[in-house]
């Protein structure tokens, strides 16, 4: 059960949803566990906006735990003793898959802002190539939360024959105006940094101030008001008395400084621009009469998970997916879990999610019917 980190190179050009063409693409990925002889135990795990392919274990490079270490591993919900877990990096992200940081074959310099817009669907096409290379014709299950959940839905619509079952967590059939507003402001924060330099900063100082602002602002949405109150309240870094100044004085201010600092060097600012724009364009109904039509060719069992505190991806919007699948007579179970962490629930608060996920992977049809 070793972690295998690799980058797969595909020389066949990829035509993107926009019509632009990437002459070749790289897909960075990690795998955990072993593919069995029948090649029918593969589970595709798809990361969120600021995740990478590093989903499990401790990264030898950064020393950081994988983003879903709580759920993936021997004996865990996604049991690596049973399943071959494939965790690819999204196209346009910063884990080594082709992105704005990659060399433009025309100039051999990093693409920067010349990199074309890539969609959630384009990312799925890049991962379909990886599946092919790994000898997987059908995944036992495809699992994703948030940005990963959008990808899971595109898999269901585009490659239904490759999806044995799917788990969509904290993701709605299209983004919302509020999300687009949020992404638009995060992008403005990055671009406001003079170091962003029109997206061309790979051989100079990175726009860490703008990226830090974006990360801090994002933290106000990833975490709920309740979590802020419980963790920090009005507690001061030192003492109880007001200091009457602008220096960080409250514990919550110290926390945000850490958020800003941690983003620098870990997240590529351009990747955040491209990935958030991909979400803006995400709309499963586009090109279809309705949502049921988008999923018309998909017939596998589906588990949908929403969280009570997640007002940005609310349960009622996720229920639209359930309604569409049931309209197609496709087995579907939608559970709404309680978590003070809200949108981050699936990452940090896996106590209720894990047994459900394990049972679903063990026998998707039965779990769906039991709902």
């Amino acid at each position: 059960m070793n972690t295998i980190r690799d980058i797969a190179r595909f020389d066949q050009p990829l035509t993107l949803d926009s019509g632009a063409v990437l002459p070749h693409i790289d897909v960075a990925y990690e795998t955990y566990g072993e593919l069995n002889a029948e090649a029918d135990n593969a589970v595709l795990v798809l990361h969120g906006l600021t995740g990478t392919q590093h989903a499990m274990g401790t990264s030898p490079e950064t020393g950081r735990p994988g983003w879903w270490d709580a759920a993936i591993g021997p004996g865990k919900a996604i049991d690596t003793d049973r399943y071959f877990v494939v965790s690819p990096n999204a196209l346009g992200s910063y884990g080594g898959s082709t992105s704005a940081a990659s060399p433009d074959p025309e100039t051999n310099l990093p693409y920067g802002s010349r990199f074309p817009i890539v969609t959630i669907g384009d990312s799925v096409e890049s991962h379909a190539r990886l599946a092919d290379k790994l000898g997987i014709t059908r995944f036992h299950s495809i699992i994703g939360g948030c940005f990963g959940g959008f990808q899971a839905m595109e898999w269901m619509a585009r490659h239904p024959d490759m999806v044995g079952s799917s788990v969509v967590i904290s993701a709605t059939p299209r983004t919302s105006a509020h999300n687009t507003a949020l992404w638009s402001v995060l992008r403005a924060a990055i671009r406001s940094d003079p170091n962003w330099n029109g997206g061309n900063y790979y051989n100079r100082d990175a726009p860490d101030t703008g990226l830090g602002l974006a990360a801090m602002f994002g933290a106000l949405f990833w975490m709920s008001r309740e979590v802020f109150e419980t963790k920090f309240g009005l507690r001061r870094i030192e003492g109880d008395e007001p200091q009457y100044g602008f220096e960080p004085e409250y514990a919550v201010e110290e926390f945000l400084e850490g958020v800003s600092r941690n983003a620098a060097g870990r997240i590529d600012a351009n990747a955040l621009l491209y990935l958030t724009r991909a979400i803006d364009y995400f709309d499963m109904r586009r090109g279809h009469a309705d949502l049921a039509a988008a999923f018309a060719r998909y017939a596998a069992p589906t588990l949908l998970i929403s969280y009570t505190g997640d007002w940005r991806y609310p349960a009622e919007d996720m229920e639209e997916i359930a309604v569409a699948l049931r309209e197609n007579s496709t087995g579907c179970r939608h559970d709404t879990l309680n978590s003070p962490a809200g949108h981050g629930g699936f990452l940090y608060d896996t106590e209720r999610l894990s047994p459900l996920l394990a049972a679903f992977l063990n026998d998707p049809k039965t779990v769906v019917q039991a709902s």
Copy 2:
């Protein structure tokens, strides 16, 4: 019933909560209606974070309506045919009251970052001087929402004899960690702009980029997800097809660009730093055994208004004020109104608020007893 715009100068030094001293202070204000012979029909109206003393009618300078034009005027909820409305600018704000933009008497240059921290309570002390100058020993009512609501609470605690009744809207007894986090990020956005220049920009280009970022950040919190969905959804500025680029393409992006543009020239960036820091320090319990003790000397009728959609200043936190007042046997009514506008409800959605406000001003005791 004319608008009277004026700036009152007070030469007596003001010792601030921090211990710092302002050698003299200016209080900018507008008044609407006439003070009667008994001087007992004055209503103090206190603006929110980004408001000014311009509460009613159309500003001759900017052509903009006052922030509470919906509620103040002849025959309106706060009827200027009956009441003498006093609308002062907060200390540290950008309507002409003493702030970081004012000349430092020591240098005759704008204070900039040398301006001391002013608290909500300090602002109340500056307005108490204005009341004295206008010949008002007791207001018929003191009314404020959000930042204005914090000020109303400080009035109740500091000058209970000057408060005939009070209306506190969308304001909690202390700020929350999430609010402090939000303010901290808004301040970081402003300071990230090289034009901010350590707060000294009054004779050069203003930090409009940072201020615009802060204003856009703020808009994501002033307006609810539902309002964003209803107003914008995924509607495009032109056509229906994705443009696959980063130029503003969605109506919501165009809206945010307007928010950013409108902040420039209207809001002084330093004022936003100082006013948000004043909110960070706001905590009615500080220096008291509990909230009831803070309001121990206050005995007038109080109307509390919260909004269902206002998760940043929730009804349950406002109810703490009601509990404390009732503990002191002080008459108090707390109504929670429905409004999709959430925290902005009292500004934009006055249909339910106005009749309640009018009835309360007409006969505070009866309205409170009827609850």
